[in-house]
């Protein structure tokens, strides 16, 4: 062995798992893409512009902060992902300065003031969205009709939940739940939805109202990336397969939320307890996007399994509270950032068990 080798010396372990921060971020991004493409398809090129604006603003802000603090984190994909998620949480018709401000706020204030990726205690994308939501509420609640529901004269409409929120304020009749209410009040539905629901009702002998199919597939007005529960769930399968997200947060979130909806959700329609429409509530208003892609954000969710479950239940409870009793129709983003605040406390008090 005469030749001198330039060997690397480092501490054990000498081999690593193939996942890296960057690979995780980019995988999540890829899993999100189908839902976004769907959004662009149904809401038109306007949606694409919003996505491009939010991503560009986010990536440029990251580059600027990189330059200022002399670190290089652009390729870890987190800025791109933040920008993408912000775009996904915007209505397609929003003026472009809204996603831009949201992205800048998310990256510069929420992330880099706290030391960059890993330092932030609040999900940057959601904080950015909430910031612009409260700043420009009307712009953030003006929805575009998807192409399959677009009649000649209606270009904008309410999301199913928004429609319910205002519709129920002075509603005194009796319906079996949100879906029937929407159908009864003439909320637009696609032809396919009618056919599918009819088929389901005749095949499984159920009496479901129309609208579930539209809700599940994403044939509804809403934020660009949140409408298609189906495509989001498709991406989720891959995330679970790659073990990038674990079951604790989404399952405890959806379970606690579903349970509360089931118990109390029917009260608004003059029904008894234990008659809420879980299916409708879970597939509407960005819960799927929130539960699988945003509440599971590693940085801002607890470390331990126990902590994650507490966190998920908390988000579920707050989403329910805000959606059913607050003045906002959806409540997912606010519920998540509220629980983000308590993560350091949860982490502090949910220590891992010491096996000895």
């Amino acid at each position: 062995m005469s030749e001198k080798l330039n060997l690397l010396v480092e501490s054990s372990p000498q081999i690593h798992n193939s996942d890296s921060t960057a690979s995780i971020m980019w995988t999540v991004t890829i899993c999100l893409l189908p839902a976004g493409l769907w959004g662009i398809w149904i809401f038109g090129s306007r949606a694409l512009f919003v996505l491009v604006a939010s991503i560009a603003a986010s990536v440029l802000s990251e580059a600027l902060m990189n330059y200022m603090v002399k670190r290089r984190t652009l390729m870890d994909g987190s800025a791109f992902l933040t920008g993408l998620l912000i775009g996904y949480n915007m209505p397609a018709a929003v003026p472009l300065y809204v996603p831009v401000v949201a992205s800048i706020f998310a990256i510069v204030v929420v992330k880099w003031m706290f030391g960059g990726l890993g330092g932030n205690f609040m999900n940057p994308a959601l904080a950015g969205r909430v910031f612009v939501f409260f700043s420009w509420t009307s712009q953030m609640t003006t929805w575009t009709m998807p192409r399959m529901l677009k009649a000649a004269d209606t270009v904008s409409g309410a999301t199913p939940l928004g429609f319910l929120k205002t519709g129920l304020l002075d509603f005194n009749g009796a319906v079996s739940g949100p879906a029937q209410f929407l159908t009864q009040q003439g909320y637009p539905q696609t032809v396919t939805d009618g056919k599918v629901m009819e088929w389901i009702n005749s095949t499984f002998h159920t009496h479901l109202s129309g609208g579930y199919y539209d809700l599940f597939m994403g044939n509804i007005p809403g934020s660009i990336g949140e409408v298609s529960a189906f495509l989001l769930l498709l991406g989720t399968i891959y995330l679970f397969y790659k073990k990038i997200i674990t079951w604790e947060v989404p399952v405890s979130y959806l379970a606690s939320f579903g349970l509360l909806v089931w118990i109390f959700g029917g009260r608004r329609y003059g029904l008894s307890f234990f008659s809420g429409d879980i299916l409708f509530n879970i597939f509407s208003g960005g819960i799927i996007l929130g539960a699988f892609y945003m509440a599971t954000d590693m940085v801002t969710s607890p470390l331990t399994r126990k902590g994650m479950i507490i966190f998920g239940v908390g988000v579920g409870f707050l989403t329910f509270l805000i959606r059913f009793y607050g003045s906002f129709p959806e409540g997912v983003s606010l519920a998540i950032i509220l629980m983000n605040i308590s993560v350091p406390l949860i982490d502090k008090y949910s220590k891992t068990k010491d096996s000895g």
């Binding site: 080798l5 480092e10 193939s18 921060t21 010491d354």
Partner: protein, 443 residues
């Protein structure tokens, strides 16, 4: 896979890559011209050097004497002359005195048949004495002096003797081959240890990626009508660690900071058992061991029986040298082993393998900040919170780290392996322990 035993919390599944060598028979390594024998090859006090420059030594002659309760004897691996006594860095980063021996003269044992000793008439103390005399240490990697381990404290009763045939470290196949090729001798070794510790039950835990070894051990036990329970285990790292092995095989948990004997168990590695057999039956001190030379950077990976003190470069050469320039050369397994930068570093009693790892196998990536993914927490077999520990240590709050269990960390590497941010967690733990020790010495 269902129903197989394993330990309960934490653990990771690194790619095994044992196929590189698990079909290669153990062969005796080439004996090079120069040997470097460090005086500190075991846990505890370094041995006292008995030779000086110019002395003639013979094969198996005592050259380092145990210098304390936890210490061990060291024997010359070959006949020769002491050329130099110098300080060298061992792979674990420790500075140690080492005796450089130039090969010269006749071998006393090599190629000569030894009569088998009838050890059954020996007393416990005699047997322990032979083990101590032969300088046997735990060959799994911890290198704890075996005689101390087998000495059952008064008032304690051993319920379980658990033999460790897990070899959970990826790449390594030395124990695997040993069980396959020398099952009878291992069985004899188990008998000897059983005679010392007098256990109620004897079990051997083997991961199911070694079905042939399980079969071999079962067959040997059956043939000898020896009450050895062969326990197949699920594949999971770090099952080869004492605490995890005991949890997997016996279901018992060793309390924090305690030894297995606290819960009536004694654990021994198959390599150690084999060494005990050789020492007692063949009267051969520990001067050679089986190790695996492998990795993506080695041309012909092999299982070798090499003498202590052989420069690693000689073994690599015997395996055809490097097939490509490795990113690092590791002594031991990839999870707990150490990188070396000087290929003339010698084989020691604890060297279970030599790996030349390519960058493709290492999978280093840019280090980023912790993204609190919690994977390390889920991976830690001790139920610790590595990322929080690391943060405390990184900020010099060593006492805080100790409070949340730093001292329970045994550096198995699971957290560091799984970390997507590539944070040097294990190095952090070592740093924390080092600084705590430093603080305690000062206080």
């Amino acid at each position: 896979m269902k129903g197989l035993k394993t330990f309960s919390i934490g653990g990771v599944h690194p790619p095994g890559r044992k196929y590189l060598t698990d079909r290669k028979e153990i062969i005796n390594a080439v004996i090079p011209g120069t040997f470097v024998v460090p005086m500190s090859q075991h846990l505890g006090a370094p041995s006292e050097c008995l030779v000086s420059v110019g002395d003639k030594v013979s094969e198996g002659m005592l050259i380092g004497k145990s210098s304390g309760f936890i210490s061990s004897n060291i024997h010359s691996p070959v006949p020769g002359t002491v050329k130099e006594i110098k300080d060298i860095y061992l792979p674990n980063g420790m500075l140690s005195k080492a005796v450089v021996i130039e090969l010269e003269g006749e071998f006393d044992r090599l190629g000569k048949e030894q009569d088998a000793e009838d050890w059954k008439s020996f007393s416990k103390e005699d047997l322990l004495g032979i083990i101590a005399e032969s300088g046997i240490v735990g060959l799994g990697g911890a290198t704890f002096p075996a005689n101390v381990k087998f000495m059952v404290p008064k008032g304690k009763k051993v319920e379980f003797l658990v033999i460790n045939g897990v070899e959970c470290e990826p790449y390594l196949t030395a124990d695997h081959r040993l069980m396959l090729e020398r099952a009878d001798m291992i069985l004899e070794g188990i008998r000897i240890i059983a005679a010392i510790v007098e256990p109620e039950r004897i079990a051997i835990g083997i991961e199911i990626n070694k079905p042939d070894a399980i079969e071999a051990m079962e067959k040997a036990a059956e043939k000898a009508a020896f009450p050895l329970e062969v326990v197949p285990l699920k594949i999971k790292y770090p099952q080869g660690d004492e605490k995890q092995l005991l949890k997997a095989v016996t279901g018992r948990e060793v309390p924090s900071g305690a030894l297995p004997i606290e819960i009536g168990c004694v654990v021994s590695n198959v390599g150690t058992v084999h060494a005990v057999y050789e020492a007692v039956v063949l009267k051969k001190p520990l001067i050679e061991r089986v190790l695996t030379v492998t990795g993506g950077g080695i041309k012909e990976p092999k299982n070798l029986k090499a003498r202590i003190g052989t420069p690693i470069s000689s073994l690599i050469e015997e395996c055809g040298g490097f097939s490509e320039v490795p990113e690092k050369v590791v002594v031991g397994g990839p999870m707990m082993g150490f990188t070396i930068y000087d290929l003339d570093t010698p084989v020691t009693k604890g060297t279970s393998g030599i790996l030349a790892l390519t960058s493709k196998e290492v999978k280093n990536a840019a280090r980023t900040s912790c993204i609190s993914c919690g994977r390390c927490v889920n991976a830690c077999p001790m139920g610790l919170n590595p990322t929080t520990l690391f943060k405390f240590i990184d900020h010099g709050e060593y006492d805080e780290a100790e409070k949340i269990g730093l001292m329970d960390c045994k550096e198995c590497g699971s957290c560091g392996f799984i970390c997507p941010a590539r944070i040097p967690l294990i190095q952090g733990m070592r740093l924390g322990k080092k600084m705590l020790r430093k603080k305690k010495v000062k206080a």
